[in-house]
């Protein structure tokens, strides 16, 4: 990877210049679609942008200096992790990546959740602490199937490179693994029925309760970037073909991500929040089951051939 390519990926596509507006678009789409399904009007499409600008202009709450470093630093780290994760996605066929970028991607995807746990405790609000505890517990439950699915993918493609995995032939392993990752999306995005950690109306907004102004704006942005990165990951790994042209890949990738946002919104609107035990049971039973099957099929490809 040459330096120009790295900068292009980080700053233009699928990094900053593309990801931030798309993040706002996704946040808007989710809110609008949910509103329409609930018989409300919903916000105009520039609303997330206005929210961001307004939050940025707000006065900062004075806190002890170490606290404010934490409270501004954590959301910033989340935003950067989201951007870095996006830059790694093998969207077009001419992206090369490097050996081990899969591991890096998984790590970056986990950073926002980790930051939000830390932020919940750093904010010293009891709601933040309850939310952070829940986030930490959930992160253990969903990461088990998520990581197993990733391992299955990597094993069956015999590579830790995202491009190789994306280019590997479609099959049972890949389908099951991508399905498991899909299952993990709602909990990673903290939406219903797995909105346990930021449970609004129950513990205000969990780890983000004490955040306001620019800090909250950064959290919102980080959340939007998580949407872009996670839907993008599913599309990149789930889609077996590339058009070959840069613009074609871009169009397919963006539109499929938006479709995924709509599907997730339907799920979120149609369901109610589960208890943390129920969520954990779901992921350990179904998520784990699916990903284990994927892993076994990945390790012993003969089984799949035998079934066929």
């Amino acid at each position: 990877m040459s330096w120009e390519k790295v900068f292009f990926a980080l700053l233009i596509f699928p990094g900053l210049l593309y990801a931030v507006p798309t993040a706002w678009l996704m946040l808007w789409l989710e809110r609008k679609f949910r509103a329409r399904m609930q018989g409300r009007i919903g916000p105009p499409f520039y609303q997330p942008f206005f929210d961001f600008v307004k939050l940025m202009a707000k006065r900062r709450v004075l806190r002890p200096s170490f606290d404010s470093i934490f409270m501004m630093g954590l959301p910033l780290v989340s935003v950067s992790a989201g951007l870095l994760a996006l830059a790694l996605l093998p969207i077009s066929s001419d992206s090369r990546g490097f050996a081990g970028d899969l591991v890096l991607l998984v790590a970056f995807l986990e950073v926002p959740s980790l930051c939000s746990v830390l932020a919940g405790f750093a904010s010293r609000s009891i709601f933040g602490q309850v939310g952070a505890t829940r986030e930490a517990i959930l992160s253990i439950t969903y990461n088990l199937p998520f990581l197993t699915a990733i391992v299955a993918l990597a094993y069956s493609a015999q590579s830790l490179r995202l491009v190789d995995i994306a280019a590997s032939p479609a099959g049972g392993v890949r389908a099951l693994a991508v399905l498991t990752i899909c299952l993990c999306l709602p909990v990673k995005l903290r939406i219903n029925p797995f909105s346990v950690s930021n449970a609004e109306q129950e513990i205000y907004s969990g780890p983000a309760t004490e955040f306001s102004g620019p800090q909250l704006a950064m959290w919102e942005l980080a959340h939007g970037l998580e949407w872009v990165a996670l839907t993008g990951l599913v599309v990149c790994l789930g889609l077996t073909f590339r058009t070959g042209t840069w613009i074609g890949d871009f169009a397919i990738y963006t539109s499929l991500s938006l479709v995924l946002v709509i599907l997730l919104t339907i799920l979120a609107t149609g369901t109610a929040r589960l208890k943390i035990q129920q969520a954990a049971r779901f992921y350990w039973r179904w998520g784990m089951g699916l990903s284990l099957v994927a892993l076994i099929l990945g390790v012993f490809p003969d089984i799949e051939r035998f079934i066929r």
Binding site: R36, M37, Q38, G39, R40, I41, I266, G270
Partner: protein, 177 residues
């Protein structure tokens, strides 16, 4: 999967939200601000007497009475409406608009007195409704007395007393048929 059919229905029907000038219809019998028909009021003051929040005040003057109402104090309980003997009060079918100043919506209505048929002095009006209610089955020669002022009424009863007790004449009968 009933919830998803509900969501689909909502999606098809579009938002149920009403844009500003539109509003949800008020239910029947809604307790809005109190309104008065001054041509029915008899200045009896019952409404002011029952109003616990002091939103209605009735002040008597020489040739009219003042009915003062402050929606800012009113609790819209409807008590005044139910006690008014002549049904001069009713409640609007819409809620009162919001104001920063409680006095902004205050209303003052003047109820003019009518002249006494005997002495011509202004006197609180007596309406047909009340006469029909209070003087039911009373002889017409007594019924005309219902319109006279308080002073004339006192004079009248004193005269009657004198004629009975001093002159020994029979009292004007109640049912002079």
């Amino acid at each position: 999967m009933n919830i998803f059919s509900v969501l689909l229905k909502n999606l098809r029907m579009g938002p149920a939200t009403l844009r500003f000038p539109e509003e949800v219809p008020y239910p029947k019998g809604f307790h809005g601000p109190v309104k008065i028909h001054t041509e029915k009021c008899i200045c009896c003051g019952m409404c002011a007497y029952v109003c616990v929040s002091g939103a209605v005040r009735v002040a008597e003057h020489k040739d009219n009475c003042e009915w003062v109402y402050s929606p800012g104090l009113c609790t819209f309980c409807g008590k005044c409406v139910s006690v008014c003997p002549v049904e001069a009060l009713h409640m609007a079918a819409k809620s009162a608009p919001s104001y920063f100043n409680t006095k902004a919506l205050d209303e003052v209505h003047l109820v003019p007195y009518s002249p006494c048929p005997e002495c011509g002095r202004p006197t609180p009006p007596v309406r047909e409704v009340l006469r029909a209610k209070a003087f039911k089955g009373v002889a017409p020669n007594v019924l005309v007395k219902s319109l006279i002022c308080q002073r004339c009424r006192q004079k009248d009863s004193q005269r009657a007393l004198v004629s009975i007790q001093v002159k020994g004449e029979p009292p004007p009968s109640r049912s002079d048929k």
